[in-house]
Symmetry: C2
Subunit: 249 residues, 2 copies
C-alpha cells in the first residue's frame, strides 16, 4: 500500500491532488518545483518538505510527476529508480520506461491552484507497467476518487482529446459569442438562459441528440447570412461546424 508520495511539480494539478491526498491521510513527503517560491508555497499548504533541486528529489513510496508534458522525459532522466507516475492525458506510459515500476494517474478535470477541487467525483484514469503496481495505484486513487478506471495510453489519449473538446473548445466558442455581442454593445447575460438550457440538454443522452438550429434544418439561407456577417476564423469555424452538423458524420 502506498501511503507516502512526492509531488514533482507545484502547479494546478500538483496543488489539488496534493490537497486531496493529504485529506485522505496520505503523507506528502516533499514538493519539488524549479521555482523555489512555488515549491515553498505548496509545501506550506501540504505541511511537507520542499526543494528546487532535481538531485534533492526524495521519493519514498511514489513520485508523482505533475509538470508540462514536454518536460516529463527530461526530468525522468534525472530522478532515481523509484515507483513513479506521470499525470498527463496524452503522454504514453513508455516515457517512464526506465523505472522498474512506472505508470500514469490522469484525472479528467480542469484544475486550478486556487479553487478547491472535489476529487471524489473526478474520474481518474490509471495505467501501470505491472498488474501489481496497477493494483497499488488503484488502491491509492480510490482513496480520493469514487471513479477510478484502468485505461491504456491510446484510450487515455482519446479521453484527453474529448476532454479538450468539451472544456477548451466549448469555452472558446462561448468566448467568441461574447465577443460578437460586445461588438454590438450587447450584454453576454442575454445568452445565459440558452447556455443553461444547452447544458441541461447535454447532460441527458436523449436530449443531447435532439439537434436544433439552422444547420440541422439545412437552412442554407440563414447559414449563408450568418457566415457573411462573420469575419476571420469565426467565419471559417461557423462554416465547418455547420458542415459537420449537416453531414452528421
Amino acid at each position: 500500500m502506498i501511503n507516502n508520495v512526492t509531488l514533482i511539480g507545484s502547479g494546478n494539478l500538483a496543488t489539488q491532488i496534493g490537497i486531496a491526498f493529504k485529506q485522505s491521510k496520505i503523507t506528502i513527503n516533499q514538493v519539488y518545483s524549479k521555482d523555489v517560491k512555488n515549491a515553498k508555497k505548496l509545501s506550506k499548504k501540504l505541511k511537507c518538505k520542499f526543494t528546487n533541486k532535481i538531485k534533492e528529489i526524495e521519493i519514498k513510496e511514489l513520485g508523482i510527476i505533475c509538470i508540462k508534458d514536454d518536460y516529463i522525459s527530461k526530468i525522468a532522466d534525472k530522478i532515481p529508480n523509484k515507483p513513479i507516475v506521470h499525470t498527463s492525458g496524452s503522454t504514453n506510459i513508455n516515457t517512464l520506461n526506465k523505472f522498474k515500476k512506472h505508470g500514469v494517474i490522469y484525472p479528467i478535470q480542469t484544475l486550478n491552484k486556487n479553487k478547491k477541487a472535489n476529487f471524489t467525483k473526478i474520474p481518474i484514469c490509471v495505467e501501470a507497467n505491472t498488474k501489481l503496481f496497477e493494483k497499488e495505484l488503484n488502491v491509492l486513487c480510490k482513496k480520493i476518487s469514487n471513479n477510478v478506471i484502468n485505461v491504456k495510453s491510446n484510450k487515455r489519449l482519446n479521453i484527453h482529446i474529448a476532454a479538450v473538446m468539451c472544456n477548451n473548445f466549448t469555452n472558446q466558442i462561448i468566448n467568441r459569442a461574447e465577443h460578437i455581442l460586445k461588438k454590438q454593445n450587447l450584454s453576454f447575460e442575454i445568452l445565459l438562459p440558452i447556455i443553461d438550457e444547452t447544458f441541461k440538454k447535454i447532460q441527458n443522452p436523449k436530449t443531447r441528440l435532439q439537434k436544433t438550429g439552422p444547420a440541422i434544418r439545412k437552412d442554407y439561407k440563414i447559414i449563408k447570412k450568418h457566415i457573411e456577417e462573420l469575419e476571420g476564423l469565426d467565419k471559417k469555424i461557423y462554416n465547418i461546424i455547420s458542415k459537420q452538423i449537416m453531414s452528421d458524420e
Copy 2:
C-alpha cells in the same frame, strides 16, 4: 393593449409562446398550420380555433408568424393587413413591409414542443416599425418575460449567430466528444464532471476568460498528437479552433 393573438405556425416556438401567453391571460384567437393535425393538436392545448387554410387565417389584434424563415415572406403575401410580427432571429423586419404595423418578437432560447419553457427568464428581442407599435409589443412581451430588449434587425442577427454558437455548436462538439469515446468503448459519463466545471466557469465572466488546455499553452506536440489521432472534419475542427485559441483573435 394587445390582448388577442393568432398563431401562424404550430411548431416548438408557437407551442411554447402560445402556452406562455395563455397563462398570462392573453386570448389565443386561432392557430394556423398547413398540417391540420398539428393545428388541431395545438388548438386543443390552447383552447382556441384552428385552421389549415391560409385564407381562413383570422387576425384580431396581432398575428404571430412562427414558421420556418424561408416561408415568412411567402405566407405574409397571403394574409390580411393586420398588425403582424415574425419570431425569427435572422429575418429582417422589412420582410413584413407590406403590413401597416409590423415587427419582430424573437425569444433567445431553444424551445421544444414537449418541454414546458419558463418564459419569465427568456430574453425577448422586440423590434417594430413605429414607436407606438414597439410600445405595444413591449407591454405584450413583458407579460410573459422579465427580460424584454429592443434591438434592430442587424443586432438581432448577431444575437442569433451567438445563440447558434452557444447552443448548436457546443452541443455538436459534445456529441463528437461522445462519438470519440464510443469508438474506444468508453462511457460518456466520464466527461460529465469536466463538462459541469466548464459550464460553471462559462457562467462567470472572470473564469470564462481563464483559458486552459494545450492550445493556450501553445503545446504544439500535444496538439499535433491530437490532430494525428482524429479523422475527417473532427481533425479540421480541432485544428482551426486550436488556431483561434492560440491567435486569441
